[in-house]
Symmetry: C2
DNA sequence: TTTAATTATGAAATAAAATTTCATTTTTTC
DNA sequence: GAAAAAATGAAATTTTATTTCATAATTAAA
């Protein structure tokens, strides 16, 4: 774990003086990696041995070792932070920021996912009689993408981005059907209703949404995808990308579960496209 | 610059003894960050002052500072590499691999993008009478997503994932129209044709594709998105995500170019969705 | 409350690590 | 092959970190 997060986590396990040290470090970690133990002690208004004890409480060998960990955390932590686009950014700058925020979101999303739930979802999907993907707005394209992927697996799969079709489909679902409902906010009324309708009709409902949303409450399995959207620009950005990555994970899990013969089949599907393409010369 | 690269670069500028130090470090940098100057000197069979001089030649303040730099380089280098999914991976493992490969691809894609081309594209888009997005297969969802985004800007925007509609639309295009053609391989015959049709009819054609593909040759502006697809699984994965990130970049560029009054408008579009959602309680 | 036990803290001493100084060796230049 | 320049390491010095131990603060028990 990142040592900065660890400090933040263990803040209440620390003694009064040690907490002072922690606060100084959290306030300006980049300064600390260039400070001696004496300088840091002075900064925090405590003694040098206290700093040393603080370092050991965080499972480092001592102050120099602690600084090493800190340096590594900083190196890791800085590149992919959610940096907000600014009015006066050049193309170079906003491009970098958007790509970096996207990467940061993927990192966050991965942490929020639970491999157990993924396993259960893959289980359910491989057993399914029929798979439906529902989404609206930006999540509609994720549902669309999912259909593209699962279609290759030669299983009955549909996707709807229309409220009425979703409702009808949900009402007609039965035991053995899997309904995947995708919504970042998890608060879109019609989608939450569709989820509960599908569940009432014995379908297994998998929700791809943020933790603790109304949608999550209606689902048999919740795949939590937490990202921090930059709401300044009023457009869904990172959320749909994290959701797509999760679709990749599910699709991959599916093919792995089905074994290697099945993957030869996928190759055939792909090869069937060849005649529609210009040949590569390399 | 990464200090390990720097050492490798400056290897021939170093004296004989200093080179010995460099070699020991390059051979096992992760050991070195836990060694004292004495230990490293012994390892390299030279004296401690030589190590110290070596550190300063690399523009660090001394040995401890050098170790800090080294630690940061190590932390940066490893995280996001393209790791391939393996037959026997657990859910945890393949999830991590897919997310990490996706992040690595985004990193790669960003490097392949040219901010000048982005600027020109944003220019053209803000001036456009009509914007069309064309894609097939996995790229269709990118086109779909782009429509969702640009639709909010209150400009005439269409998207087609149907070959015939794309052709008809391309033939009807005229000066001032912008056609964005999306294809990772850039080898899909019908799309390449559509691009050249649109161009013949005086539309500005922007290609979102890999460097040097047949599609790229037909475009007025090429936005190169190079990623390394893991073709083992026969499904497009990273490419479409990188393309989506690029759509975000273009959309962001568009809103920035249009100024702050325009962004208030976006807020209204978003607010209009409120009544369809469950309220947040926090 | 008061007292005993525990825990936290810092001053001083010690130990470890890094740096500087300077004499010696090696290499280069003429 | 001698003089100058550069490289190197032994030893001394300085800086930095750690340990020890006495004292202070906090908590638990009476």
């Amino acid at each position: 774990m990142n040592i900065l997060e660890k400090i933040a986590n263990e803040l209440d396990m620390l003694s009064k003086s040690e907490r002072k040290v922690a606060e100084v470090i959290l306030a300006s970690p980049s300064t600390v990696i260039h400070s001696s133990i004496a300088a840091l002690a002075k900064q925090a208004n405590i003694s040098e041995p206290t700093v040393n004890r603080f370092c050991r409480r965080l499972d480092t060998k001592g102050y120099p070792d602690f600084k090493l960990h800190l340096a590594q955390s900083l190196a890791n932590g800085t590149p992919y932070v959610n940096r907000h686009v600014d009015e006066n950014d050049t193309a170079d700058e906003y491009t970098a920021k958007i790509f970096e925020s996207t990467m940061a979101s993927l990192e966050l999303a991965r942490k929020s996912l639970n491999s157990n739930d993924i396993n259960r979802s893959v289980d359910v999907l491989t057993q399914a009689n029929k798979i439906s993907f529902f989404g609206l707005g930006a999540s509609a394209i994720v549902a669309h993408d999912a259909q593209n992927k699962f279609f290759r697996f030669n299983v009955p799969v549909v996707y709807f981005d229309d409220i009425l079709m979703q409702r009808m489909s949900a009402i007609n679902s039965r035991q053995g059907d899997v309904v995947i409902v995708i919504s970042h906010t998890g608060r879109t009324k019609s989608l939450v209703e569709v989820a509960s309708l599908a569940k009432e009709n014995d379908a297994t409902v998998i929700g791809i949404t943020s933790t603790g949303t109304p949608l999550a409450k209606e689902c048999s399995i919740v795949l939590s995808v937490d990202v921090s959207e930059d709401t300044d620009l009023y457009m869904p950005m990172s959320s749909r990308i994290a959701q797509l990555a999760l679709i990749d994970v599910l699709a991959t899990g599916f093919t792995l579960r089905r074994g290697s013969k099945f993957r030869d089949n996928l190759k055939k599907v792909k090869d069937s496209l060849r005649s529609s393409r210009f040949e590569r010369k390399d």
